[in-house]
């Protein structure tokens, strides 16, 4: 019954045929996606919509830029549509793109192109974070017309379609071709009918020429761009100046306004700031450094207003002048012009002592239930890895042993206003504590001051070094270290001699002083001092002379305390006040009290 199956010849053919069928079947070509993305690049996108962008495509081709805009990269292109380019051609008196010289087309593309991807999220009320390839900043903003809002670029073009993401960057479609400003600051000011008096002042003082230098030709790189904040004729009129002659008569003290010591020269220099500072930049900074040597303009943002030189000085509020937004942010080829609503000039100030209560900060004083209430409460000064007080900075704001504001009930040590700053310091980097902290002083008039640190003594305290304006060209290190472990005994005056008539002078000669009034002192309101004059506790509120600082600009300055030695106890660095006293002023008085009472030097 066994039988071996064999192909008959014709059966073999059938088998082959079936096999063949399989083969031809599998040969059918399948469509695989061969690229990783079908995103187009800038050029590709423009070519997709020729009805909108055929002219821009043509410009890119003729200017020789379509090659790199079609390749990999990170660009932002402000892309005018066909209507915009047609209007531009009419303005140029050309019939077609082909009639425009290639060099002009290149410049046009460069002015619309930035070498970074900048979406509308990064737009502010001022300049974009990058320069255009042309070398001028673009300014952004928003406008509302007939109830519909859109982004505005250079106050010229509206963005009709923002944030078009393409493979090599982002495009913003605009409805007008952007035109770079071709005039310098000097020319723009001269041509405006608003500023005839100031123009003449520029010319007479020689600033006209320095503001007339194209940024590409500027030799001083700091002055490639400059900012001029100037008064219109009408603003000067309000101040009683109706002509240049009157301005000169009022300000110029020497016969030659070109002289750098002449007040008119200083007046004009005070209106010019190096760098392109748009309104948005000015709102972010508190001080503008002018061309007048060591003179600054302070700026403040209140509601919607930018106020210049609006300061509290020595307890008195000085009303500032407002910037006129509608005539400001005027871009020129080498800078930007702002319009001030009123006359402003350098303020002549005289040095006054500053008895700085370092805890007097708006963020702390708004804590009504704690602020200067002798309740023994604390307020932690950091949260979520950031300082809660604008005028304080900490090396490690995330440190677990947090810096605190303390309002104290303690009777063994008294503090002015019953409050102080409590820190946990350490010399080496340590995640739990801070190596340094710094504080921004109130306004200090330029000049030399003796710096006194007033602290609560603690034997677990650190040794700190004080530095002014760390990291700037004005950095100054104080020669004397602040050893928070020292009592007033370190001055050589001990309890037994503390009540003697020359005790204060002896301490002073060693760089120490009492800053809290003692119990045998009575002030004009009949209040007695908080600490004993001698005996237990007389010496634990010392004030230490750190050295002399030369303040170069009338401004707020940073003072930093760095841990350099001593102990590292938690919450054992207690700073109460810092005194800045001009060299020729009384260093010993006034003294302070656990309340806000002040003790002037008694009349002997």
């Amino acid at each position: 019954m066994k039988k071996i199956y064999r192909f008959k010849p014709n059966q073999g053919w059938i088998f082959m045929l079936i096999l063949l069928l399989f083969i031809t079947n599998s040969c059918k070509k399948e469509l695989y996606t061969q690229s990783t993305t079908d995103d187009v690049n800038i050029v590709g996108y423009l070519e997709l919509y020729p009805d909108q962008f055929s002219l821009m495509t043509e410009i890119l081709e003729r200017s020789g830029t379509s090659g790199y805009l079609g390749a990999y990269g990170t660009y932002t292109l402000f892309t005018p549509d066909n209507t915009a380019i047609k209007a531009w051609l009419v303005k140029l008196n050309k019939a077609s793109v082909a009639d425009v010289p290639v060099e002009d087309l290149k410049n046009m593309v460069k002015f619309h192109l930035l070498a970074d991807t900048i979406g509308t999220e990064a737009f502010t009320d001022g300049k974009l974070p990058e320069l255009t390839l042309y070398g001028q900043y673009l300014v952004t903003g928003a406008t509302n017309q007939n109830g519909s809002s859109s982004y505005l670029v250079n106050k010229q073009a509206k963005i009709t379609k923002p944030n078009v993401r393409v493979g090599n960057g982002v495009m913003h479609i605009i409805d007008e071709v952007l035109l770079p400003s071709t005039k310098t600051l000097a020319k723009m000011i001269e041509e405006s009918s608003r500023y005839t008096i100031f123009t003449q002042a520029l010319k007479e003082t020689g600033f006209y020429d320095s503001l007339n230098v194209e940024q590409s030709e500027a030799t001083d790189t700091l002055k490639r761009f400059q900012t001029a904040i100037i008064e219109s004729d009408s603003a000067l009129n309000v101040a009683g100046i109706s002509s240049y002659a009157q301005l000169k008569a009022k300000l110029s003290k020497t016969s030659s306004p070109k002289n750098h010591t002449d007040s008119l020269w200083l007046y004009v220099a005070y209106h010019i700031i190096p760098g392109a500072n748009y309104m948005a930049d000015i709102t972010e900074t508190s001080a503008l450094y002018t061309l007048a040597p060591r003179e600054i303009i302070t700026s403040k943002f209140v509601g919607q207003m930018i106020l210049l030189n609006d300061d509290d000085f020595n307890g008195v509020h000085e009303q500032g002048v407002a910037i006129n937004r509608s005539f400001s942010d005027l871009t020129t080829s080498n800078g930007v012009i702002h319009d001030s609503k009123n006359l402003f000039k350098i303020k002549v100030r005289f040095q006054v002592p500053l008895f700085w209560e370092i805890t007097d900060q708006p963020e702390i004083s708004s804590q009504g239930s704690i602020w200067r209430k002798p309740t023994g409460s604390t307020y932690v000064l950091t949260a979520n890895g950031a300082s809660l007080v604008a005028a304080y900075q900490f090396e490690r704001p995330s440190a677990g042993q947090t810096p605190k504001y303390v309002s104290t009930t303690a009777t063994n040590r008294y503090f002015s206003n019953s409050d102080y700053l409590s820190m946990s310091m350490i010399a080496a980097t340590n995640t739990a504590r801070n190596v340094w902290f710094e504080m921004k002083t109130p306004m200090l008039v330029k000049g030399k001051y003796k710096v006194w640190a007033c602290y609560g003594q603690n034997s677990n305290g650190p040794i700190l070094q004080a530095v002014f304006d760390k990291g700037t060209s004005m950095e100054q290190t104080m020669p004397t270290l602040l050893d928070c472990r020292q009592t007033l005994d370190a001055s050589g005056v001990v309890s037994a001699g503390a009540a003697l008539a020359d005790a204060d002078n002896n301490m002073l000669s060693q760089g120490f002083k009492r800053y809290m009034a003692h119990a045998n002192e009575t002030n004009v309101d009949g209040i007695k001092g908080s600490i004993p004059q001698t005996g237990t506790g007389w010496n634990v509120n010392p004030s230490r002379l750190l050295g002399t600082v030369e303040i170069l600009t009338t401004d707020r300055h940073w003072i930093r305390f760095t841990h350099v030695g001593g102990n590292t106890g938690q919450d054992y660095t207690w700073i109460d006040m810092i005194h800045f006293i001009p060299l020729d002023k009384d260093q010993n008085y006034p003294r302070f009290h656990k309340t806000a009472a002040i003790f002037q030097r008694p009349n002997l």
């Binding site: 999220e121 928003a142 963020e363």
Partner: protein, 499 residues
């Protein structure tokens, strides 16, 4: 036939028989670990379970869905564009972009899927519950209508949030239960949706029970007649139909007067927060999303722990809960140390425990009083509005530093006062932005200044002017449709501001 063959045939037949019987299961495609729609919807208990499922979807995403909770969206949409919260250093880019008025369609906070999920659950109930009548003779019409009324009200609440946040949205009223139900739906204009919500809520008002005759938590956690009427009053106020709004408020107020133990204000005690929030289901509440006893409300991660995204705005102590400088112990029961901590800026209203089970307060009786006051003020009945406000403030122990005294004829002044009082009463409850927008848009945006003043204080100084100019475009007051939704549904029309 040989024996062998017999055996083979026999075995073959048995094998066939086996195959035959087991085939029954092989060809049965119904899942063995779940219930299909055809098997469900048979008894009234099925409807009840489905309704409870609708409520559950408000407090947690269903298994397998990774999305933010509905309550997180409601909190964010209601607060992030307004002035009561600020970004913490750990806020996301999406958070910061919205706060800086830099909103684009790719922002993840513009996803609306969580709300549509609840809407779909409600639609499923509305579509299939009537079929149960065919199977369950014990289901009365009254009972069925009550369930339908609950679903209608919940759906209306979700659409009301969507309309106030996005304005024109797709309006789906049928369920999506099978593949063929998927359809591309265009946007429906907000006014059409609002009209439908009014009609739906009127239907629901006749159907839902006054009380469930169970625990008080049931009456507060499920839709009751007063909840429908309160929502309707809120919708009417948004639609600027003031007489209708007052009429609905009056119904709720009448119920409260008749049943003060079930619905009335809790006053005269600083335990207010504990009673209303921590314990929950107080007599003040009209409708709450019931996280208690065991569903985490999720706010610890957003508002409390060290990685929190939002903190209380530092301006609250200057403008909302102004302390009494003479006597610091004299405090508003809703302010510092209750809703938030002014020393750490932490928002504590939803509890500081992790996890926290504090319920989401959708509506409280205070809402009804203030809605009515607002409608009265606009209807030139200022004196009456001020009277409501005055007695309400006494109950809440509002202190004199936050009192205002607008003239009874000064409509704008009274509305500002009510707005300020609402910011204290509903601090961080996802209502602030809608309150601002409702007041700003009234009478064809007569009070756009409310929004402009607000935004000038909340955005960074460098972006202030741009943000204000954006806000002058009323389209910008609504969020964009998320780009993923636009991509998936070609019929959706994007808000023109974001095109």
């Amino acid at each position: 036939m040989s024996k062998m063959k017999k055996f083979i045939y026999g075995a073959g037949i048995i094998f066939l028989m086996l195959l035959d019987t087991s085939c029954n299961k092989w060809l049965d495609l119904s899942p063995q670990d779940g219930i299909t729609r055809q098997e469900y919807w048979k008894t009234k208990e099925d409807i009840k379970s489905a309704i409870i499922g609708c409520y559950s979807s408000l407090i947690a995403s269903p298994v397998g869905v990774t999305d933010r909770k509905v309550t997180e969206y409601l909190f964010t949409w209601g607060e992030i564009r307004a002035d009561m919260i600020s970004a913490s250093p750990l806020a996301t880019i999406d958070d910061k972009n919205i706060m800086e008025v830099n909103i684009v369609a790719s922002n993840g906070l513009t996803k609306w899927a969580a709300l549509y999920r609840t809407i779909n659950y409600c639609n499923t109930v509305l579509e299939y519950a009537p079929e149960v009548k065919n199977y369950d003779p014990t289901l009365t019409d009254e009972q069925l209508n009550a369930y339908m009324g609950e679903a209608l009200t919940l759906r209306s609440l979700m659409y009301f949030y969507l309309v106030r946040t996005f304005r024109d949205v797709p309006f789906k009223t049928t369920s999506t239960s099978k593949d063929t139900d998927l359809q591309e739906l265009g946007t429906t204009s907000a006014s059409v949706i609002l009209d439908q919500l009014v009609a739906d809520l009127k239907t629901a008002d006749l159907a839902v029970p006054v009380t469930y005759n169970s625990t008080i938590a049931t009456d507060k956690g499920r839709i009751t007649k007063v909840a429908v009427e309160t929502l309707l009053a809120d919708v009417y106020l948004w639609m600027e139909q003031y007489d209708n709004c007052i009429a609905e408020c009056n119904k709720v107020i009448a119920y409260s007067i008749a049943n003060p133990l079930k619905l009335s204000l809790i006053g005269g005690s600083n335990a207010w927060w504990t009673l209303v929030y921590y314990n929950g289901s107080s007599r003040e509440t009209i409708f709450e999303f019931a996280n208690m006893p065991s569903t985490d409300n999720g706010f610890n991660a957003i508002l409390v722990n060290s990685a929190k995204r939002f903190i209380a705005s530092p301006s609250l102590v200057e403008s909302v809960f102004i302390p009494d400088d003479m006597d610091l112990s004299n405090r508003d029961y809703r302010g510092d140390d209750v809703s938030f901590s002014s020393t750490s800026s932490t928002i504590t209203k939803f509890g500081v425990e992790n996890p926290s089970y504090v319920n989401w307060q959708a509506y409280r009786y205070s809402d009804v009083l203030l809605l009515k006051a607002e409608a009265l003020a606009v209807k030139d009945q200022g004196a009456e509005a001020l009277a409501i406000l005055s007695s309400f403030r006494t109950t809440r122990h509002a202190i004199s530093s936050t009192a205002q005294s607008p003239d009874p004829t000064d409509v704008a002044g009274i509305c500002d006062y009510i707005l300020a009082e609402r910011s204290r009463e509903f601090a961080f409850e996802g209502k602030r932005w809608y309150d601002l927008l409702r007041n700003a848009k009234r009478n064809n945006y007569e009070r756009l200044d409310i929004l402009l003043n607000m935004v000038s204080g909340t955005v960074p100084s460098t972006m202030q002017q741009t943000a204000m100019n954006k806000f002058k475009d009323v389209n910008s007051h609504y969020l964009p449709i998320n780009e993923a939704d636009i991509f998936a549904d070609t019929k959706l029309i994007q808000n023109p501001f974001y095109k």
